[in-house]
Amino acid sequence: MKTRGALAVGVAVIGLGLALAGLGVNPYVYFAGYVVLQYVVIATAWNVLGGYAGYVNFGTPAFFALGAYTSIFLIEALRAPLPVLILSGGLVAALLGLGIGYLTLRLKGVFFSIATFALSVVLQTLIINWEYVGGAKGYTLIRPPVPFFRSWGVLLFTLMVALAVVTVLVARTIERSWIGRGLAALRDDEDAAECMGVPTLRLKLFATTLSGFFLGVAGAPFPYYVTYVEPSSAFDLNYAVNALAMPMIGGTTTWLGPVIGAVLLGTAQQVATVTISSELNLLIVGVVLVLFVVLAPEGLTGLVRKLRRR
């Protein structure tokens, strides 16, 4: 698939999203669709660092919540509009990403993962103690009248379709560029990559920053979506687990893996929430993840590739 073809598919997906928005089906479809699409953004963003570069980030909630709380701050301080919130949420989270990029100088493997997890805990503690953005009791957003669309649910759904398409297109472009090849080399062997001329530090900083940016972007519209944000929901452990599980299920080496993983697992979770119980989510993720790690360690895309080669 050439770049122009991918762009066309992207535009088509956004068109489909708009059509679905115009259709006016059961509001729950938009509500659940938003969550699934949000996970497409999160899983794809996580995978730029975790899949392409091989640095497993357990701190997804930190980046997501930073996006959400940047929005809250800007709403409180400036009544900033949604596009500004998304861009700012992304940029602030990108800065945090750059910071963890420098951690990779000293921390590799599981130690890097532990550090990112700790980062999430530290940041949550800071937010809990920051009254301006609601502190421990949370922040309630009163949404203004919805522009252009029938409801906020439809608007946010359409927005997430667009964000997901942009994120996936960016990830795909990177994967197929010299940057993607350099990241794959440093994932396989960082010393060898550096000795073969790959500027490993610069590429890692790029990956952590970009990954952070899109994780922040995913979190920025969150206050509009839930209208009530508290630290425990923005820093939910689910984001850390899903961000890792979805690419693992789909396959981490290509852009398609996280998309497939997010759609499958995200949808399964939504269905389980409605039909059985919302507590069942993590159990589903856990069981599926164990199955995949044992039976198909390269995820669904890896499994298909292996079957085709036979």
Binding site: A192, M196, G197
Partner: protein
Amino acid sequence: MADPLLEIDSITKRFGGFLALDRVSLRIRAGERLGLIGPNGSGKTTLINCVSGALPTDAGRILFEGRDVTRLPAHRRTRLGIVRSFQIPKPFASMTVLENLGIPLEYAGLARAHGAGAMEILTMIGLDAKAHLRPSGLTQIEMRKLELARAMAARPKLLISDEAMAGLSSAEVDDILAILFRLNEQGITIIMIEHIMRAVMRFSERVVVLDAGNRIAEGTPAEIVRNPAVERAYLGE
């Protein structure tokens, strides 16, 4: 010696209280074949880690083609033409043999336009039949050859071969030696670090001996074999 390609000017490297390199100096002329030997722990690998940029030095300077590279990160040195192979092969496991060569070609080799393409290098080294295999499907000697082929793809001016022959059979050693001789004929300067004396002595024009972080001897292979200090370093008093 006029205009050395590489000039190591009294570099020192400490690991905590352990002095791994004690003001070691070394000059290598373009096109030379230099053997670097010494007992285990003598500082050979530390020295080449300092030259390739994997380790920072504590004192001293490293000049390459007259340019001070002491503070440059490893990938910049590779781009200038200092390329090393690893003692334990470190292939890019998710890529095919051919793609393994693509990384140095793209990131380092293309800076110097003239040189062989990836497939030509594989043919020269005798890996062309395995171009589309993953490294996990290679034998031990093929892995060593891949290590050399990948280093070649960076189009080195100076190739540092770190024990490329350890654990190979005598016929395989000859095979690798032949490759290194051919590379040298193409104008590549080679530093060979090796424990297999037969190989080093046959290959090198000049041999430098390290012991406990000091340079204890230097000379032609014939001189080194007769050197009492070298004998002491290897066998004790």
